[in-house]
Symmetry: none
Subunit: 222 residues, 4 copies
């Protein structure tokens, strides 16, 4: 099989994996089920991905790649607009991405927790040799900082074109937007879309609030 076909099959397997992970979660997902969802056997599955962890990594890589693609498309679409407008839209893009791709945002979060060689935290994955040697792990390492870099770039463009206040630390603003997004997603996951009955709060309002807050950091004081 040539590279192209191999790659297509790999993508199909990742598709199936996402299906299964979404349905029953990483832990409860059986390799057997993933294989059969992909229309292949367990052994074939293993010949593509060496372990369940590697599959998770592949999903994570796809998530990050998708996010980065969105960023680049965005940069292209906003290249004639001010840095502020572009950055605000990036924030929106990120929070929407997380909200619409819950599996992906969870995978990314788990990945970033994983690579910290800290001894605390609820390790859902072990950083075993198998993981370290996996292609997707190495691919991830090459691009993991891109979303931050691209955001920082736009903030700096905004500072240059005068649309963003000059005294802001771009990385701080970026992290602040991530914090707002991730916080929102986590609260969303913990409360459910229909938060109303329990808390009598409209989540759209919360989301808007989070975005406004992150954006306010960039805007010049009147």
């Amino acid at each position: 099989m040539n590279e192209a076909k191999k790659s297509i099959k790999e993508q199909r397997i990742i598709d199936a994996t996402e299906q299964v992970f979404s349905k029953v979660g990483f832990l409860n997902a059986k390799m057997e089920d993933i294989a059969s969802e992909a229309g292949i056997t367990k052994v074939t599955l293993y010949s593509y991905f060496q372990s369940k962890e590697n599959l998770q990594l592949a999903v994570t890589h796809r998530a990050l790649q998708l996010l980065i693609d969105k960023y680049y498309n965005h940069l292209n679409a906003y290249k004639d607009q001010s840095g502020l407008e572009s950055t605000l839209a990036i924030f929106q893009l990120f929070i929407d991405f997380c909200e619409n791709n819950f599996l992906y945002s969870e995978a990314l979060l788990a990945y970033f927790e994983l690579i910290r060689s800290t001894s605390h935290g609820l390790h859902t994955m072990k950083l075993t040799d198998g993981v370290k040697e996996s292609v997707y792990f190495r691919k991830m390492q090459d691009i993991q900082n891109l979303p931050f870099k691209l955001t920082v770039q736009e903030i700096e463009r905004g500072k240059k074109d005068g649309s963003i206040r000059p005294d802001i630390d771009p990385m701080l603003a970026t992290l602040s937007a991530w914090t707002a997004s991730i916080g929102y997603i986590k609260v969303l996951a913990a409360t459910g879309k229909n938060i109303k009955p329990l808390f009598n709060v409209d989540l759209e309002t919360l989301k808007a609030l989070q975005l406004k807050t992150a954006g306010d950091l960039l805007r010049k004081p009147e």
Copy 2:
């Protein structure tokens, strides 16, 4: 064994569980290791807690109980201060709690995601019948909303005493503070305490920013 002794032993087991969970994470923790850390055998462990999930729930319950205790102590300490001051201090209390008790904040988050019986996420726990019937699960259900209620109460007190702007939705402000705290914790977990080398940002600044943002929502416009 009488109730008192039983309860003491139970607490020792939870202590041991926290040790092990902290060291290797929920997933990688083996019942065997927890038992031996507690100085008992696996079967004895099972006679106290019917499953690994139940152990996790017990840790979660302890976490929530501890948080609630802190809230009550706080309410008592701040009963003579304005609602605004009290609420701001609650926000600080919550973010500090999460930061200083990473295991607990993760446990609480996992719990809230669990009870939504969402089909997303990495599912560290299953909402099985066994879980539903467990003592700790029922205990949790009785108190799970208390932190929110208490916060909302203080905000309402602030609205009455005029220290908090009257047009704010107390639940929205509470959730906003949770969002800020959880977002901060997650970014912290994903980047590590020493975020500096990578991102050149001081996390204390980020934390202060998050708290200020959540607080600003409550303050009257000048």
Copy 3:
């Protein structure tokens, strides 16, 4: 479980193993089937014997132990008879043992071929670390030469009491008897009990011939 019970269970497992090996052979025997024949699960089976090879070794050990027991019983029964008579009876005992316990004689043969670190032969087992570290392998090494030693002893006794010709090499005579027995067994295996139709030979005659030949070596010339 105390040692005694453990040992009984171990023996039951070996019983089951022999059943299955006898029925379908070592190669075609499934661990699953052996386990179910023993009324246990695969995992329990593995907790007693670490691999299929180890099981085979256990069977082999039992075979050798049984043979040695027979030898000792024999020595006791023949202690008042001449060395010649005793030795001849040992030869008979050995050939009968092989004929009546085909699985055992095959196992012993395979074992002796195995321990030769030769690079040729139809290796049915690998001398892996797992094998080397197995209890039964070490047990085997302690007793593997006993049958030879005991036979040699009796021949020497015969030389002393004058019943066996003085110029015979006891080890050569012993090996000669083994050769005769193993040759007979192999021809038996290759031709089947009912050799008649094909070769028109009575196997009993062949057997008697083999025994006579081995014995003749010991007898004094008239």
Copy 4:
């Protein structure tokens, strides 16, 4: 490819198979390794031989063919000598053949055990339909009894020319020689060429003894 070329390739594959079988044994031999030793791929290997068992059979066939060729050459060379001399030389030929071609003698032994479809033994081969339908299996069946027949013939010639005692059963004498040879080979395999250190016996002596014994059966009493 024409028949000639095909046949040459087939022989090369069998060469490679013998290499691999000799090195690691039938069981541990991987089809992959055999293919690569033969400089072809697995699938090509399968296009020539339908299974591992068939490969083994091909080796066995070559072994038997070689043995039979030696027998015919022998018969031709000894046609002017007495039946006794010829037969004794056949015995020597057979034992030498086994000793010098250990793989072949094992293969032949395995084959003869196989066709008995015995349920004992370590079953290196299965008598499946696939095997039964294989070319080499059918070829084997046509010639498997030749070595016996040829030996029996010579013994009968000896009886006629008066060099061999008239009261001997030719088949019994033949089998007796096989028994002696196979017994010797098996003891050899189980003890190794350098038997001395362990047993203090010179194998050449044992071998001579075996041959003498088999021969004595034929000789007239003085």
